[in-house]
């Protein structure tokens, strides 16, 4: 069984030789440059660290390190439009959506400083310079990279776009303002989300026209929950967000046979059945510290219909636990999620800046040690 078969078998809800591992294939499983630096020190490796994502300060792990960790997936991420990101200063940039990001002194990532549509009216949406989802610059070189991965390696290949609809609307409008829009200015909110959806559909189509034939997994994201529950009411999610996610998935499915991987942080228990209904195959990141995200219950209630990708706690265990705690956490998630397949082990979202290299290594080692099927933990 090669690495790609390991993943595909697991995602087909069957047991491969061992639970697959993902570290660094995409944004939500990536590793912060500080944690990666610590990991290199732990492993005694010296190498030049490449930054893969400026805003999140995420490292591009080297092939050598990924092989040591036992990572079974490699990622391909859609690029930005030509001249899409403007670097304003050492600590400030404007992204293709017009959102200003800045990094304060000592901060480990960038945060939003200016929401470009904060005070916009519905008329303003017609003239706002939204990014071009069809810009071919987004996929420069990606087909070659995907073909090379497909033909010369046996890694599973994950393709990633952002896909944010609700979250993007909040990013351009302001978190609180868009929540108000949904209730007080529904026509504005819907038009904004429709414009974003159209762009994301274009991005997905452009990306998949280039690499769709090579992908095993297609990943996109939209945060629909927070730590303590839904970000908006389930009723509103079902009426306003779910149909738009469904439309995006329809575009994706028309262009690839890859499994559909959906990321939302937080307490998404309320929406899992909906996500299955619209065609999501894989749920990420399974934020186990959030409310209602008990992994045993998730597996019991939804495990036949959706796979889980993530679940190793990054809020408590990875940053603050001992290596023994990490091993215990890995065993817990393996016990809950791995039997019968349907589980890819990864951290819950990024491995953040305050995670020690020792704990990253402990996670990977425990996954390999205890992840062999049949699971006996």
């Amino acid at each position: 069984m090669n690495l790609r078969e390991r993943i595909l078998t697991a995602l087909d809800h069957r047991e491969p030789d061992r639970v697959p591992i993902d570290i660094g294939s995409c944004g939500p499983t990536a590793i912060h440059v500080n944690a990666y630096t610590s990991l290199l020190a732990h492993l005694g490796i010296e190498e030049e660290i490449k930054l893969w994502d400026v805003v999140g300060q995420l490292a591009q792990p080297s092939e050598r390190v990924l092989e040591l960790l036992g990572a079974d997936v490699r990622g391909i991420r859609v690029g930005g439009p030509k001249n899409g990101t403007k670097i304003i200063s050492d600590d400030t940039l404007i992204d293709p959506w017009g959102i200003t990001w800045f990094r304060t002194e000592g901060a480990t990532c960038y945060n939003i400083r200016n929401y470009p549509l904060r005070h916009a009216t519905q008329q303003d949406l017609a003239t706002y310079p939204f990014p071009d989802g069809r810009d071919p610059h987004r996929v420069l070189g990606l087909a070659e990279r995907a073909k090379q991965l497909r033909e010369q390696t046996d890694y599973a290949i994950l393709g990633e776009i952002s896909g944010h609809i609700l979250e993007r609307a909040q990013m351009v409008r302001g978190f609180d303002t868009f929540l108000e829009d949904l209730v007080m200015r529904p026509a504005f909110a819907d038009e904004l989300m429709d414009r974003i959806l159209a762009i994301e559909c274009d991005i997905a189509a452009t990306f998949l026209d280039a690499v769709g034939a090579y992908l095993d997994v297609f990943a996109f994201k939209d945060d629909i929950a927070m730590q303590s529950g839904p970000l908006i009411s389930p009723k509103m999610f079902r009426a306003r967000i779910k149909p738009r996610l469904q439309k995006l998935i329809q575009v994706i499915k028309s262009k690839t046979r890859a499994k559909i991987w959906f990321h939302s942080c937080g307490s998404v228990y309320y929406a899992v059945r909906d996500l299955i209904e619209i065609g999501v195959d894989i749920l990420n990141p399974v934020q186990v510290a959030a409310k209602d995200m008990d992994t045993a219950r998730l597996k019991r209630e939804f495990g036949n219909n959706i796979s889980f990708w993530g679940a190793i706690d990054t809020q408590n265990v990875l940053p603050f636990g001992s290596t023994q705690d990490v091993e215990t956490e890995v065993k817990t998630r393996l016990r809950d999620l791995a039997p019968g397949g349907g589980y890819v082990l990864a951290s819950v979202h990024n491995i953040e800046a305050d995670v020690s290299g020792a704990n990253v290594w402990a996670m990977a080692q425990a996954a390999k040690k205890y992840g062999a099927y049949p699971i006996c933990v």
């Binding site: 800045f102 304060t104 400083r113 200016n114 904060r118 005070h119 302001g174 978190f175 303002t177 108000e180």
Partner: protein, 379 residues
Amino acid sequence: MPYKIMNQPDSVVRQILDYLEPRIDRAHVERARARNRAALDYSETDRAPIVFYLPYEGTQFAPYPYAEAFADPAKMMVNELLIGFTSIYHAVDLRDDAPYCLRPNLGIGIIASQFGAEIRLVENNPPWVLPLGDIATLRARADASMPDAHSGLVTRALEQYDYFYDAVKNYPNCRAAFQFTLPDLQGPFSIAELLFGSAIYPVFYDDPGLIRHWLARITVQMIAVYRALVAKTKDDLGAGYCYQHAVAVKGNILVRDDSMINLSPKMYREVVLPFDQQLGAELGYVGVHFCGRGSHQVGNLLQIPNLGSLDLGNPEMNDLNALYAQAQSQRVALLRLAVAENELRATNIAQRFPRGVNLAIKPTSVQHAHTLLCQYQNE
């Protein structure tokens, strides 16, 4: 059901008071008051005070939609009796340590409304407060004349107190037991966030002086509004204490400081803390409330002069043992602690938090509360 026939709000108020009046045990109320007061003073008590936030399960009366209660003092009183922090309708039978508190439940925008923030009622929600506008607007309005302390929603709050007093005048037990408490006045920084919206956070980098300027205005206004309202309250805990959130508070006022948990300790200390300190210096004892996890700010909060208590909106998100150790060293009381159900016994609480705390528990039902209260009292 008589309510269905006599459904004028004033009649409903009277019917509920008729129901409550013979059930109020004034001796119990006095025992609870004394226990609440002593606990906050770090004096010895037979057990830590405990309050259950009871859901309303009655069928004889029905609460009103919030927007109707907002506009009508009688409907608001009905709601306060049925679905306030705890349902007084059921609490009189439970006999926990809950004070029977009623307040002008006008939301969080009372002071923001005086500065011109629009208050909007959306569906059946508490009032939404809309920011004043962009940062240029906040700059332009930074030196406007100070609002009248009786303006905005304060007028409505005063009207509500008048209604409360009038409603209970023929009910001696209700009149004695009920507490007519301050409304939610928020705190300087939480009000500032209401006025700025979330855009306030980058302003900490761009122009912290603008935030300080507004905090200074808000703090002065908050003190003026407190003084305008406090004379209308009825609060039997005595000077230096008050009831809020249906628990006893060590403090003449409970300052809501939810937004400060979004700040770094340094940012809070340098920009916001001086104004919380000003409240403590001018109003005597103050309590400070925050939701979420606030452990990173507790060191700062303990620098507020006359800090009497810390009120936890989310005790489950905080390391209570560590927090208690910090608070105990300055005899600052911790309010609304909660523990796992199987640990809810007075002896356990006394071992873990010997003095200076009260508890607030959210049962799943009134019956559940009765069961838990028996367990707590080791009956």
